[in-house]
Amino acid sequence: MKLAADRLLGIVLIGLAAFVAVQAMQLEVPFSYDPVGPRAFPLGLAILLAALASVLIVKPGTNEAWPGRQLGVKLLLVLATLLVYALLFTKLGFIITSLLAVTSLARMFGAPWGKALLTGGLMAVVSYYLFAHALGISLPSGYWIEPLL
């Protein structure tokens, strides 16, 4: 299991190196004042990466333990929450989305409902006032909510 991960990584990296090299070759350069040009550096890196990746395939190193299925699902849930947070961030405004995101993250990290909601509410409102008013950072306020404030 351990060995497979690093070998797989090695193969992926060689693929990446090939991709980098092909993309570099396809660059269209109108003209360049320096003799090196924009292609050489990425090409060199691709060769270096491919060489290092080959070493990895021949002589794999150690990895940390991979998460099991249960944990894997949870990790995906956390990522999904962050993604939804991002998707709604400008549409609903900072306060509402942060309330939702904080509450659900707190739940996933083991807080009971009450505490999670309380954390969500407090953190969303306090951080909004801290950032927007005390530090003058412009945050999406969610225009629709403004008349209510």
Binding site: A5, D6, V20, Q23, A24, L27, E28, V29, P30, F31, S32, Y33, D34, P35, G37, P38, F41, P42, L45, L48, L49, L52, A53, V55, L56, G61, N63, E64, P67, L71, K74, L75, V78, L79, L82, L83, Y85, A86, F89, T90, F94, S98, A101, V102, L105, A106, R107, M108, F109, A111, T119, M123, S127, F131, L135, G136, I137, S138, L139, P140
Partner: protein
């Protein structure tokens, strides 16, 4: 000769300016502690405030300088406590700072970093006071060829970090350099690896990179720790709160050396706190890591980058004050602030506006004292962050990450990119990679390529330019020595002892 400084202390010690130095130090610490919101943003956001308040020039500058130094202090907090660097200069601080916190020594770690920051900054400010005009002359001697040699030296010095898995360290650095090539090629204007997305034209932003790589992946790792069945909840209870004098004294030479390195690197236009932190850390590891404890929570591994990044912040004032050339993004913003007050920095500033030049330097001395006084006693309070339950801490990190990226980009694409880089960082960490080489490759790789190509366009393709000057030749020799000596010296030693 130092009339301007005496005059400057007069100015800086007035109640208004002293108050502003305090306020700036506090606000700066706060800005620096928030991941992604570093000194540049702090100053850019507060500059209009200083202007609207109608503060006189020297007061405004004192406020802004205090914010700058405060942010350099604050950047270390999340590095130590959460393993998330607060800004560019604090990346290396995570290497030994966070392991210390994991050992239950968060308080002493914060205290020590405050002391090293103070020592580093003080060395640099003294250097600034005594030698500024002279150093400015040296700084402009660094052309593209010299910068290229410096980058080669920096990469060579990274070899010491190869540690337990040299192949993965090298792969990490190469991946970092590759990430740095995304965006407009700064010489020909050709777009590289942007796939038609305008969001990628300027390359992958540093803030997006560190927040994604460190903060988002940290959230995912925390989830794993929280779900571990073996009852290991990760962090031990908080031990003692204050750093001991003995611990500080054990690091005194580390601080001195690193402060000097940081100052010198800070003076050079275009290299910043991140390079200073990296070079000082690797130098210190090479010089004093006899038992291979760096990276596992060695106090010296924390003191080195902390002294260096604060020293480089002060060092970057040299080209700004003496030549009017901003050496870093932050000093560029400060320069803008000076222009707003109709002050043009340069050698003339010391004679024409002594209250500004002197006041600024004096306020750097005072600001650092204020910061030390503020940060030492508060170390215990800040260390309590670690006792906050995960279900509060994680959403907090998430909010900070989002705000940090959003305020810089006003753009969701940057947030998506941050999440993608976060997953990438998580995978790297699970695969046994260290993140520091990735970041260093990303920072140094671009500088290396650009300066190589600049040098060769100046020489018309003649490679000789790369080692023509004494400075670059010296750096090349040093780089080769770094790579060869650790391998050669033991052999020579052996040969000698066997002969005897």
């Amino acid at each position: 000769m130092f009339d301007f400084l005496i005059h400057g202390f007069d100015v800086a010690l007035s109640p208004l300016n002293l108050g502003l130095a305090f306020l700036g130090a506090l606000l700066g610490t706060l800005f620096g502690a928030l991941p992604g919101i570093g000194p540049i943003n702090g100053i850019a956001i507060l500059m209009p405030l200083a202007y609207t308040l109608g503060l006189p020039a020297e007061s405004a500058l004192i406020l802004l300088a205090a914010i700058y130094t405060g942010a350099e202090y604050g950047g270390r907090m999340s590095s130590i406590l959460l393993n998330v660097p607060g800004d560019a200069g604090a990346v290396m601080t995570t290497l030994d700072g966070h392991p210390l916190a994991k050992k239950g020594l968060a308080g002493p770690a914060l205290g020590l970093s405050a002391v090293s920051s103070f020592v580093g900054a003080t060395i640099a400010i003294i250097g600034l006071t005594l030698f500024a005009p002279l150093l400015a002359e040296v700084a402009v001697m660094f052309g593209p060829a010299e910068f290229f040699a410096l980058m080669v030296f920096a990469f060579a010095s990274m070899s010491v970090m190869m540690g337990k898995d040299p192949v993965k360290t090298a792969i990490g650095a190469v991946l970092g350099v590759l990430i740095g090539t995304v965006g407009v090629d700064s010489s020909t204007g050709v777009l590289r690896y942007t796939f038609g997305l305008p969001e990628l034209y300027d390359g992958i932003d540093f803030v997006v990179m560190i927040i994604g790589l460190f903060a988002i992946s940290e959230i995912l790792l925390m989830l794993e720790h929280a779900n571990r069945k073996d009852g290991n909840e990760g962090l031990p209870p908080l031990g003692r709160v204050f750093v001991s004098l003995k611990e500080v004294m054990a690091c005194k030479w580390t601080m001195g050396r690193s402060g000097l390195i940081g100052f010198i690197i800070g003076i050079l236009p275009g290299t910043g706190a991140s390079v200073a932190g990296a070079v000082s850390y690797t130098t210190e590891k090479r010089l004093s890591d006899k038992n291979n404890t760096f990276g596992t929570g060695d106090m010296r591994g924390l003191a080195a980058p902390e002294a260096a990044n604060n020293a480089s912040a002060a060092g970057s004032f040299v080209p700004m004050l003496t030549l009017g050339i901003p050496g870093s993004g932050t000093t560029a913003v400060l320069l803008g602030a000076l222009m707003l007050y109709n002050i043009t920095p340069g050698p003339m500033m010391f004679s024409e506006r002594p209250e500004v030049a002197g006041g600024l330097i004096a306020s750097l001395y005072i600001g650092n004292l204020v910061l030390l006084a503020l940060n030492l006693p508060l170390a215990g309070v800040f260390a309590r962050v670690l006792t906050i339950p995960r279900w509060v801490l994680v959403p907090g990190i998430a909010i900070l990450a989002f705000v940090g990226v959003y305020q810089l980009h006003s753009n969701l694409a940057a947030i998506y990119l941050m999440l993608i880089i976060g997953v990438f960082g998580y995978l790297l960490r699970k695969l046994g990679f260290s993140l520091a080489p990735v970041i260093l490759g990303y920072v140094l790789g671009g500088l290396m390529e650009q300066n190589l190509r600049r040098a060769l366009s100046i020489s018309g393709g003649d490679l000789g330019i790369l080692w023509q000057s004494g400075i670059s030749l010296g750096l090349w020799i040093a780089a080769v020595a770094l790579l060869v000596l650790p391998w050669l010296l033991p052999k020579l030693w052996q040969a000698r002892t066997s002969k005897a």
